[in-house]
């Protein structure tokens, strides 16, 4: 027995034999309601953004170190791979932001009512699509 929580899995049969309780089905068995997808999406986008901070660090360091180094970053970010990374980064950032505001509302005790959390989940998805499109329309227009 490795984990102290395993002790909770111990039980006795009617014959008095000690057995492990059966586990309930795991994630892959259930269909994915929107709130479940958003919950894991918040974590995944958070981890993705942590990787994205490397891009921000590179950009700032290159700018601080010199013209040549900075031109390399700017060219990379303008390349197809760079644009793809920026697209993923901006979508992850906007998603984590919108979903994070939803979490902060819950911390205030707001939005737990039946239906309210589903409505806020749909609002998050809609806000992410609209805001990401808006950022890229403005971004490409300015470019």
């Amino acid at each position: 027995m490795q984990d102290v929580r395993d002790a909770l899995m111990l039980a006795r049969t009617s014959q008095g034999k000690v057995v492990r309780r059966p586990l309930s089905p795991h994630l892959q068995v259930y269909r994915w309601p929107i709130s479940m997808a958003l919950s894991i999406g918040h974590r995944i986008s958070g981890v993705g953004l942590a990787i994205g901070t490397l891009l921000m660090t590179w950009w700032l360091l290159a700018a601080a170190s010199g013209t040549g180094a900075f031109r390399v970053v700017q060219n990379f970010l303008g390349s197809p791979i760079g644009v793809l990374l920026l697209l993923g980064w901006s979508a992850a950032l906007i998603f984590h932001l919108a979903s994070g505001i939803r979490h902060l509302m819950w911390d205030l005790g707001v939005g737990f009512d039946d239906g309210a959390y589903r409505a806020s989940a749909r609002a998050v998805v809609a806000a992410v699509v609209v805001a990401t499109l808006l950022v890229w329309i403005v971004g490409l227009a300015v470019w």
């Binding site: 102290v4 981890v47 360091l61 902060l104």
Partner: protein, 131 residues
């Protein structure tokens, strides 16, 4: 497994739970994550607009942008809030999914160390550009 095994497991369960104690410092982490989250809402919106305005910027443009005390202050605030929030968030993910105590400790130390290092690098770069 016989009955005495079961009893000793139940005793150690209580013992370990007592050994772990209440959250105490855990609450400070939870609260810091919320405080940085609230700070990051306006800071992130500001950063996205700043990035858009710097799309085809030269190094001199970036330096000029950070030369404004307000922009430099906001950038430093963004750096501190981002990496602090990141360290706590990644720590939470590691605590949930990494099960071996040794690997967990190593992963947490790496995340903490990298977060501090990246934050320092970003802050020093921003200061060098802006000052």
């Amino acid at each position: 497994m016989n009955t005495s095994d079961q009893v000793s497991i139940r005793r150690s369960m209580l013992g370990r739970a007592r050994g772990r104690g209440a959250a105490r410092a855990g609450f400070a982490l939870w609260w810091t994550q919320r405080v940085t989250a609230v700070a990051l809402v306006p800071l992130t919106l500001w950063f996205i607009s700043a990035i858009i305005s710097l799309e085809s910027a030269s190094r001199a443009d970036v330096a000029g942008w950070l030369h404004s005390p307000l922009a430099l202050a906001l950038m430093l605030a963004l750096i501190v809030a981002t990496f602090w929030h990141m360290a706590i968030g990644l720590g939470e993910v590691i605590a949930d999914y990494v099960h071996g105590e040794g690997t967990k400790l190593a992963a947490l130390l790496v995340v903490r160390g990298l977060s501090v290092l990246l934050a320092l690098l970003c802050a020093i770069a921003a200061l060098r550009l802006g000052l």
